[in-house]
Amino acid sequence: MGDTLAIQVQDLHRSFGQNRAVDGVSFDVLRGEIFSLLGPNGAGKTTLISMLSCLLKADSGDALVMGHSISVKPQQVKASIGVVPQEVALYSDLSARENLLFWGKMQGLRGVPLARRVDEVLEVIGLTDRQRERVSTYSGGMKRRVNIAVALLHKPALVIMDEPTVGIDPQSRRSILDNVKQLRDQGMTVLYTTHYMEEAQELSDHVGIMDHGKLVAVGTQRELVKSVGELNRIQLRLSEPTEGFLETWKTIEGINDVTSDDGIVTVLAADSNRVLPRLFESAAGAGVRIVSVDIQEPNLEAVFLRLTGRALRD
């Protein structure tokens, strides 16, 4: 079993004062897969991967990364991982090539093999033509791509990426997501944190959902959706206040739950096509006009909402 796992996290804890940033997290990541940690800002994702990359010590618990304990053999762990930090961590007064050469040396590469590898990753990130320009002259997306390239120089078995697409243009984001999928195709394991549900949906083989320092769910997307009942989410905006009236909707057959927040009514139902006509009928009978309707198929956003009671971007 151990040979098939890239990461085994066992009851990790880390607090900052009274704040429990990571609170008893356990999960496994298979070799060669993309595992996404999905959660809003402040959920504890960065703290968790800081511990997995041996930058922070755990208060308790342990993790095996590529078979090495983060608390006992941090140097072996570091040798087997490449870390892409959330913020661009490059020397802006150096060119992309100089940055890559420097970081390659920090990973133990030298001479011709290093120069060749730098050429390769520059090709992958599409910056061969501008490799000798200072990083400070690059756009945000270009910096992000160099930021990722640094982590790939030594061909690590595991790449840890902490929200690598924050604050960049759609074109660069697309390029990065494609790069991540290529890494998996090359046999690398990717631990990817994000608060963008659509990224997790597109990339992930397995997803872990974090909130308030806890891992509230883990599994494939299908498993997660199934775990919350595969309900459709129907959001309706009504013409007037709905106190009392919504109670009648809860009695309609096929509706699982009805909640109201800030003028928007959310209805959870297994089959939206079946319940929608009855909602309109009921509203018309009560003299209430439905202004807008939005139907959402079951997805990770819905799973998160169901599990935590709030939206990812709250």
Binding site: C54, K105, M106, Q107
Partner: protein
């Protein structure tokens, strides 16, 4: 190897930073330039074209000699008093380039001469000068009444009189020790014999002074200072002080790169690579060390060429420069380990470097007031800059290797303590 890579990357950053270059080289060199403009022409001249302005001294010797001592005047020659000897010394040919001495018979006449600006300094030797000198009273009670705007002339006068009194005191100690020692063995020496012994001691002391010079205003004939003038010596001390101050500034500014990298996220990224954190810190230390050492070498070279400052032999220079560069680097890392942001560092490190620098350099800026300078030298040893300055002064003075090595050892001890504390605190922060 990785430590060297980190060091070279940091050095490159330092040497492409206009601000860094300005404070590492431009500001200290500007100060050297000012020194050069002010004094360079005279200090570098091979001919002794510069001379300290002659101080006009008015001297009232009121010393009653042996009559002021409770002894029988017939036992000694009343015409020979300590005041006479001091008057003779101050009027001697050796000092005539420093002071022109005129004698008067009363204290008031001497003070009036200063008040009327006929003289710049009045030296009033009190009636009991012989006795108080024998008792070792500080300065022998000699009054120096001076033009308050003068510092150098009165300073030299005080030094000469202080040494003169010290020698009188040593005669007294020698006499009493000899009498007591003989008495302990049952011998009671006759006053004549004691007087002869004292006379011989004084003669030999005077002969020794003639050889080595107890009060030297010209450069000692040591090899490395053959052509240095007194002014060049003073300039050298000021230059060393400036250099030490800016070396520690550079050490601190260099260490600030740790906080800067922390804010940029590159330090954390370094700690996620297979390069051990200890190597990362060694690389940081190496870059600060090389930058500081290079800065000092440049300043020493420029000041030697521009001001003719003799820094000492290559060996003493290395024994002084390397521990100073190490200590300045460790000082920076130690300081930064207590700070969290570059913003904090800008304020706090500037303050700490300035405050400790002032403590270290206090003795330099009070050179003309011997008692204050002495206190300043003691206080300076509470900060590492003080030891660096001491080491440079020792190297310039051609001090024995033992003393140089002692100063270097103290600097290395400072280095070890500050580096270990700084490293431990940094390690706690990042792991």
């Amino acid at each position: 190897m990785q430590a060297l890579d980190i060091a070279l990357k940091d050095i490159r950053h330092s040497f492409t930073s206009l601000f860094g270059l300005m404070f590492m080289f431009a500001v200290p060199l500007l100060i050297v330039g000012l020194f050069t403009v002010a004094f360079g022409g005279t200090a570098t001249s091979k001919q002794q074209t510069f001379s300290i302005p002659v101080t006009n001294v008015i001297l009232a010797n009121l010393d009653m000699g042996i009559q002021a001592v409770d002894l029988d005047p017939s036992d000694a020659d009343p015409s020979t008093t300590a005041g006479d000897i001091l008057t003779h010394l101050l009027s001697s040919d050796e000092l005539k380039e420093l002071m022109a001495v005129t004698t008067v018979t009363s204290a008031n006449a001497a003070r009036d001469a200063v008040d009327s600006r006929a003289a710049q300094v009045a030296v009033i030797i009190p009636t009991a000068f012989t006795r108080t000198s024998m008792e070792g009273a500080p300065g022998g009670g000699v009054e120096i009444y001076q033009d308050p705007t003068l510092t150098l002339g009165p300073g030299i006068l005080r030094a000469i009189i202080g040494q003169f009194v010290d020698e009188f005191t040593s005669v007294r100690i020698m006499q009493s020790t000899m009498t007591a020692s003989l008495a302990a063995t049952g011998i009671t020496p006759s006053p004549d014999k004691v007087a002869q012994a004292v006379q011989r001691f004084v003669e030999e002391t005077m002969a020794a002074q003639a050889t080595f010079g107890s009060v030297k205003v010209e450069a000692p004939p040591a090899k490395q200072q053959r052509s240095a003038s007194l002014l060049a010596t003073i300039l050298a001390v000021y230059m060393a002080a400036m250099m030490v101050f800016y070396a520690y500034y550079t050490g601190t500014a260099g260490a600030e790169s740790i906080l800067l990298e922390q804010e940029q996220g590159t330090l954390q990224r370094l700690f996620t690579t297979r390069t051990a954190p200890a190597i990362v810190m060694q690389g940081k230390m190496l870059s600060i060390l090389l930058t500081t050492a290079l800065q000092m070498l440049v300043l020493m070279l420029v000041s030697a060429l521009a001001l003719g400052i003799r820094w000492g032999g290559l060996g003493p220079i290395m024994i002084t420069l390397v521990p100073t560069a190490l200590c300045a680097s460790a000082f920076g890392i130690f300081l930064m380990s207590f700070l969290k942001t570059t913003r904090q560092a800008g304020v706090v490190s500037g303050g700490v470097v300035t405050a400790t620098g002032i403590l270290a350099l206090a003795s330099v800026f009070t050179m003309s007031v011997p008692s204050a300078a002495q206190l300043g030298q003691r206080v300076a040893l509470f900060v590492p800059q003080g030891w660096s300055l001491l080491a440079f002064r020792q190297a310039m003075d051609g001090a024995p290797m033992g003393r140089l090595l002692t100063s270097a050892a103290v600097l290395l001890a400072w280095t070890a303590v500050m580096f270990l504390v700084g490293r431990a605190r940094m390690a706690r922060r990042f792991a």
